[in-house]
C-alpha cells in the first residue's frame, strides 16, 4: 500500500507519520509538497498535524488554498482514504470535506496530554482492528480542538453514525470532565458521509510504538492497510 503525507510549510507531524508508515507499518510512503497539484498513485493520504501556515487567522484557513488541495478533494470524492490528524482535521474542516469548525480550547490553553477515546464503530476502514465501545488511550496536543457544529449537523452526524471517537474516562464513561477541549458531544473524530475521510484531533502516530508508551494508534493505521488489502485483492 502506498501512503502520501501532504506537507504544508508549517506541518510538523509529517515526519512522524512518515516514520510510522514506513518503519512500523512497513508500507510505502512519500511526502507530497503542498505546491504539487496531483496525488496520483497513492492509496491513502495523511494530512498531518502542525501549524500549516503558522495557523494564523484560523487553523487550517490558509492551507485550504494550497495548490494541492483540489487534488486532495478530488481524491476524497473518488473514495480514496484520507486521515486528517489534528491540524489535518482542521484543514479538512476548512476545506469543507468535513462539516463544522474548530474553536479555541475551552481552557484557552494549548493542551498536551494523554486522553481516552471511546471507539464508536469498528466497521469502518479506520477502526476495523479496534472494537466498538472499546476505550483506547492516545495523546492529544492542540490549542484549537474544540469542535463545533450546529444542532442540525450534529443530529446528522449522530444519525449517520459518523462520529468515530469521543473523549471518555479511562473506563469509558463519556463526560465533559474527560473532554480536553470542550468539543460538542465530546467529539474527537468524525468521518464524511461516504466514510472514507476521517478527521481526528488525537495523534495516532504518537502511540504506535511501545517505546512511546502505547500502540493503540498503530491499530488505526493497520486498519487502513487491511481495508485496502481487502479491496485490492
Amino acid at each position: 500500500m502506498k501512503f502520501g503525507v501532504v506537507v504544508f510549510p508549517g506541518s510538523n507531524c509529517d515526519a512522524d507519520c512518515y516514520h510510522v508508515i514506513k518503519e512500523v507499518l512497513g508500507q510505502e510512503v512519500d511526502y507530497i509538497w503542498h505546491k504539487e497539484i496531483a496525488v496520483q498513485g497513492y492509496d491513502a493520504l495523511i494530512l498531518p498535524g502542525g501549524f500549516s501556515y503558522g495557523d494564523y487567522l484560523r487553523t487550517g484557513a490558509i492551507a485550504r488554498f494550497s495548490p494541492i488541495m483540489p487534488a486532495v478533494i478530488e481524491f476524497a470524492n473518488q473514495g480514496g482514504l484520507i486521515i486528517g490528524i489534528c491540524n489535518g482535521f482542521q484543514i479538512l474542516l476548512e476545506a469543507g470535506l468535513l462539516p463544522g469548525a474548530m474553536l479555541r480550547n475551552r481552557s484557552l490553553k494549548f493542551i498536551c496530554d494523554k486522553v481516552h477515546l471511546q471507539v464508536k464503530r469498528d466497521d469502518t476502514p479506520f477502526t476495523r482492528l479496534l472494537k466498538q465501545d472499546e476505550t483506547i488511550s492516545i495523546p492529544v496536543a492542540h490549542g484549537e480542538g474544540n469542535y463545533f457544529c450546529d444542532a442540525e449537523t450534529l443530529a446528522e452526524l449522530q444519525r449517520e453514525k459518523r462520529i468515530l471517537f469521543t473523549y471518555c474516562s479511562p473506563s469509558g464513561e463519556e463526560d465533559m470532565v474527560f473532554n480536553p477541549n470542550g468539543s460538542i458531544a465530546n467529539i474527537a473524530g468524525i468521518t464524511n458521509k461516504q466514510g472514507n475521510v476521517l478527521g481526528m484531533m488525537p495523534h495516532p502516530e504518537r502511540c504506535s510504538e511501545h517505546i512511546l508508551g502505547g500502540t493503540d494508534g498503530y491499530r488505526i493505521f493497520a486498519s487502513m492497510l487491511q481495508s485496502w488489502q481487502e479491496v485490492s485483492c
Partner: protein, 733 residues
C-alpha cells in the same frame, strides 16, 4: 527616533574615551551605537569573561566548546548533539508572552546555525510569589509564549524547572535551552574567511524592533525601563520554521561557508562576529537590507533586533542556488555586503560611508573588568544559624505543606501547555523521570536532558550551591540511566559592579567549575545575564545548568514511578539530616537560612556511576534523586507517579526526624527494586563503594511512615496526589 547620548546607550565615560582613542576622532552616532551594543555585557561579556575562562571546557567527547553559537558533543556513530541555554529575562519582564517566545526563537536559531536539527527544548523559570496577581500574569504569559513558539516549530519542549521565590518578584528569569542533532561531518561554523565572499541576509524583514535590546538587557530594571523599552520584538514562529528548513537544506547541499544567527545587537554583532574570527573586514550596504518599515536610518537597520533573520556567507558562486531554496520556502535572501581585507567594518548607504570602525576592537577590544568581590554579611550569619533551636514540625502536616508548595508540587499546569511529544522521540515525558529521555531514531541510543539549579543553596553558599547545581544535573541524568556528557549554563546574577554580587558570581562559578571538572562534564556553551535587579534588590544568584547525557540502550531507561506491591525501597547514599537551605525550613518555619549541606564530589561520582550500572543491569524498578523536600517527598512522588502506596521506616538514632525526612543533602536517591534482585544489587552496590539502606516497601494505597515503629505519617495516595497535583492549578484558576 530620539537621539540617545552615549551614556543612555550604556557606555561609561572611560569607555567613550577609549573609543575616541581607537577611532582617532569623535565617533559619529552610528559608530557610538555599534560600540555600545558590542561592548554591552550581553555581547561582550566584559564583567564575566575572566570568570568564564576558569570553566573546564575540554574532554574527549567535546567536539566544540564555548565560542561558537552552541557547544557540540560526540554521541558516537558519527552523530553529535548541539546545545546551549540562553536568557531572555528582561524582555520577558516587560512583555512575558513575546519575551519568552522570542527567547525560544533565539536559542533555536543558535542550534540550527550549527547545522543541527533542533530536537528538544527545555526551560528554566523563576518567578516571585504566585499569590501575587502580577506574578501569575507573568507565569501565564511566559508559559504560553514558550509553548506557542516551540509548539508551532514542532520542537518538543521536554523538560525544565520552575521555582517561586520572593527574590524574583520584580525580575523573573526565563532561560531557554535547545538541543539539536547533527552528523559530525555537517557541523557549520560562523566564519567568513575568504576575502571577496559575499554576505547574505535571509529570513524576515527588518523593522525597528528591539533597538538597543542588548544594552537594555545589561541594565537593572527600573520604572524607566518601561519608557526606554524599545519597540517590543514579536516572534513569528512560522517564519522561523521556514528558516530552519531552508537553512538545513543549504547545509545539506553544502552551500554555505559560514552561518550566523542575528540575535542581540542584530546585524552589527552577527557581522562583527562572523568576520572578526579570521581578522577580516566587511562592507555592508544597509540599503540592500529588506525592510518592513519606511525611512529607517542606517543606525536603526544596523541595531535592529528583528527576529527570525540569519546571516549567510555562501560558498563562492552559490548565491543563485541559495536564492532558489529560499524562494521555495517563500523567504527573502539578499546579498548585502562583501568580506574585505584589512579589518574595517564599513557601513554604507549606497555609495555613502555612514560609519567605519575596526572590527577587532568591537570584539577582542571590548574592555574587560575584574571587579571587586566582597563577602556579604549574610553569608556567615546564615551559615552559622543554629538550626538545633528549631523545633521539629508535625511530620504529617509538614509533608502536606511541602506537597502543596509550588516549588515541589506537580508542574503539569506548565508542561501540559508544551507539545512534548512531537517528533515521536520522547521516551520519558516531563514528570515521569528525573530527566527527559529522547530516542535517536535509527539507533538504540537515547539522550537524556535536564536543567537544574537550586538558587537558594547558591545564595546561602555560592561555592557549594554552584557545585550542587552541577551535581544535581548529573545525578538526575544518572537516575534515568544516562552517562552525563557535558553541560551548558546560564549565569543569572545581579549587578556585578556591586562587590557582594561579584562575590556570588565568582564563588558559584568556582564551585561549578570544580564539580564539572571532577565529574568530567565540561562546559561547552553558556550565556550570562547580569543586572537582574530591581529597587527591591538582586535576584538570588541563579547559575542554571543544562546537561546532556547518553544512554547506550534506550530500552534500559528508568523512570521514577513505584511499580509493584512488595518491591523494596532503598536509599542509595548516606543517611543525612542537614536542613540548611531546605524547602522544609522555608515552608514550615519561614526561614531561608542555615548551612548548605556539604558536597562530597567523590561520593557523587560513585553514585552516578553506580546508577548507570544498576539501570544497565535492569536491577531497578524506579529511581528518583533526593532534592526539594528531601527523602520523604522523593518517596511520595514515586508513589504518586506509580499510583500505589508505600511504607517508609526510620529510627530516631538516625538524626532528628524532620532532618531525616526532609533534608535535601545531596548525593542520594530513593530507588525501588524487586526483592529477587536484592542479592545482586547489594553486591554491585558494595563493589562500587556506595552506602545503601532499605527504607521501606511499595504497596497499599497509603503513604505511611514509622519512626521507631510508631506511625508518624499516614496519607492516602489519592489525597497526596490531589494536594501535589492541584497546587499550581489552584493558584492559576
Amino acid at each position: 527616533m530620539k537621539e540617545l547620548t552615549y551614556r543612555e546607550m550604556g557606555l561609561t565615560e572611560e569607555e567613550y574615551g577609549k573609543i575616541k582613542i581607537i577611532m582617532g576622532r569623535e565617533p559619529n552616532y552610528l559608530e557610538i551605537g555599534i560600540f555600545s551594543v558590542m561592548w554591552s555585557e550581553h555581547c561582550g561579556y566584559k564583567n564575566s569573561r575572566p570568570l568564564l575562562k576558569t570553566f573546564p571546557t575540554e574532554g574527549p567527547q567535546v567536539i566544540q566548546g564555548p565560542g561558537e553559537n552552541a557547544g557540540v558533543v560526540d554521541i558516537g556513530d558519527g552523530q553529535a548533539v548541539v546545545f546551549k541555554i540562553e536568557s531572555h529575562n528582561h524582555p520577558s519582564a516587560i512583555e512575558p508572552y513575546q519575551g519568552a517566545a522570542t527567547g525560544v526563537g533565539g536559542i533555536v536559531r543558535d542550534i540550527f546555525t550549527m547545522g543541527a536539527r533542533p530536537i528538544a527544548n527545555l526551560n528554566s523559570l523563576r518567578f516571585g510569589d504566585p499569590g501575587d496577581a502580577r506574578v501569575r500574569e507573568l507565569l501565564s504569559g511566559v508559559v504560553a509564549g514558550i509553548g506557542d513558539y516551540g509548539n508551532c516549530l514542532g520542537i518538543p519542549t521536554v523538560g525544565g524547572e520552575v521555582y517561586f521565590n520572593q527574590a524574583y518578584q520584580g525580575n523573573p528569569l526565563v532561560n531557554a535551552m535547545c538541543v539539536g542533532l547533527v552528523q559530525t561531518d555537517e557541523i557549520a561554523l560562523a566564519v567568513a574567511s575568504e576575502v571577496g565572499s559575499t554576505i547574505m541576509i535571509v529570513g524576515a524583514k527588518t523593522g525597528r524592533d528591539g533597538i538597543h535590546g542588548a544594552t537594555f538587557a545589561s541594565e537593572e530594571l527600573s520604572e524607566k525601563s518601561k519608557e526606554k523599552r524599545p519597540s517590543v520584538q514579536v516572534g513569528d514562529p512560522f517564519m522561523e520554521k521556514l528558516l530552519i528548513e531552508a537553512c538545513l537544506e543549504l547545509i545539506k547541499e553544502d552551500l554555505v561557508a559560514g552561518m550566523q544567527d542575528l540575535g542581540a545587537a542584530g546585524l552589527t554583532s552577527s557581522i562583527a562576529e562572523t568576520v572578526s574570527k579570521r581578522g577580516r573586514g566587511v562592507d555592508v550596504d544597509v540599503l540592500k537590507v529588506p525592510r518592513r518599515e519606511t525611512n529607517m536610518s542606517a543606525y536603526e537597520v544596523m541595531l535592529s533586533e528583528s527576529q527570525e533573520r540569519m546571516l549567510i556567507v555562501p560558498r563562492p558562486g552559490t548565491e543563485g542556488r541559495i536564492k532558489e531554496i529560499f524562494d521555495k520556502w517563500g523567504l527573502d535572501a539578499v546579498t548585502i555586503g562583501t568580506v574585505t581585507e584589512g579589518g574595517a567594518f564599513r557601513v554604507m548607504e549606497g555609495n555613502e560611508v555612514m560609519g567605519e570602525v575596526p572590527v577587532m576592537e568591537l570584539t577582542e577590544g571590548c574592555p574587560v573588568y575584574v571587579r571587586v568581590a566582597e563577602e556579604p554579611d549574610y553569608y556567615q550569619r546564615c551559615k552559622s544559624y543554629d538550626l538545633a533551636a528549631i523545633l521539629d514540625a508535625n511530620p504529617q502536616e509538614a509533608l502536606e505543606k511541602l506537597l502543596a508548595s509550588p516549588n515541589i508540587a506537580s508542574k503539569k499546569w506548565i508542561f501540559s501547555q508544551y507539545d512534548y511529544q512531537v517528533m515521536t522521540n520522547t521516551a520519558l515525558i516531563p514528570g515521569d523521570g528525573d530527566a527527559a529521555v529522547l530516542r535517536i531514531k535509527g539507533t538504540r541510543k537515547g539522550i537524556a536532558l535536564v536543567t537544574d539549579c537550586n538558587s537558594r543553596f547558591v545564595y546561602l553558599d555560592p561555592y557549594r550551591g554552584g557545585m550542587l547545581a552541577v551535581c544535581e544535573a548529573a545525578l538526575n541524568l544518572a537516575c534515568v540511566g544516562a552517562k552525563p556528557l557535558a553541560l551548558t549554563n546560564c549565569l543569572n546574577f545581579g549587578n556585578p559592579e556591586k562587590p557582594n554580587i561579584y562575590w556570588q558570581m565568582k564563588n558559584s562559578i568556582a564551585g561549578m567549575s570544580e564539580a564539572a571538572r571532577y565529574l568530567e562534564t565540561p562546559v561547552v556553551s553558556g550565556n550570562v545575564s547580569l543586572y537582574n535587579e530591581t529597587a527591591q534588590g538582586a535576584i538570588y544568584p541563579t547559575p542554571v545548568v543544562g546537561m546532556v547525557g547518553l544512554l547506550k540502550d534506550i530500552d534500559r531507561r528508568c523512570d521514577m514511578a513505584f511499580k509493584d506491591a512488595g518491591d523494596l525501597i532503598i536509599l542509595l547514599g548516606r543517611f543525612r539530616d542537614e536542613l540548611g537551605g531546605s524547602e522544609y525550613l522555608s515552608v514550615c518555619h519561614g526561614l531561608e537560612t542555615g548551612e548548605v549541606p556539604e558536597v562530597n564530589l567523590e561520593e557523587e561520582k560513585r553514585l552516578i556511576e553506580l546508577l548507570q550500572i544498576l539501570i544497565q543491569e535492569q536491577l531497578l524498578q524506579s529511581c528518583h534523586d533526593i532534592s526539594e523536600g528531601g527523602m520523604m517527598v522523593a518517596a511520595v512522588e514515586s508513589a504518586i507517579k506509580g499510583n500505589i502506596g508505600c511504607g517508609v521506616r526510620i529510627n530516631t538514632d538516625d538524626g532528628r526526624v524532620d532532618g531525616v525526612l526532609f533534608s535535601e543533602a545531596p548525593g542520594r536517591v530513593v530507588a525501588s527494586l524487586k526483592r529477587s534482585n536484592m542479592d545482586r544489587l547489594v553486591q554491585v552496590v558494595i563493589e562500587n563503594g556506595v552506602e545503601m539502606r532499605v527504607i521501606g516497601a511499595v504497596g497499599g494505597d497509603s503513604l505511611l511512615c514509622d519512626n521507631n515503629g510508631k506511625e508518624i505519617i499516614r496519607i492516602p495516595v489519592l489525597e497526596a496526589s490531589r494536594i501535589w497535583g492541584g497546587a499550581i492549578d489552584c493558584f492559576m484558576k
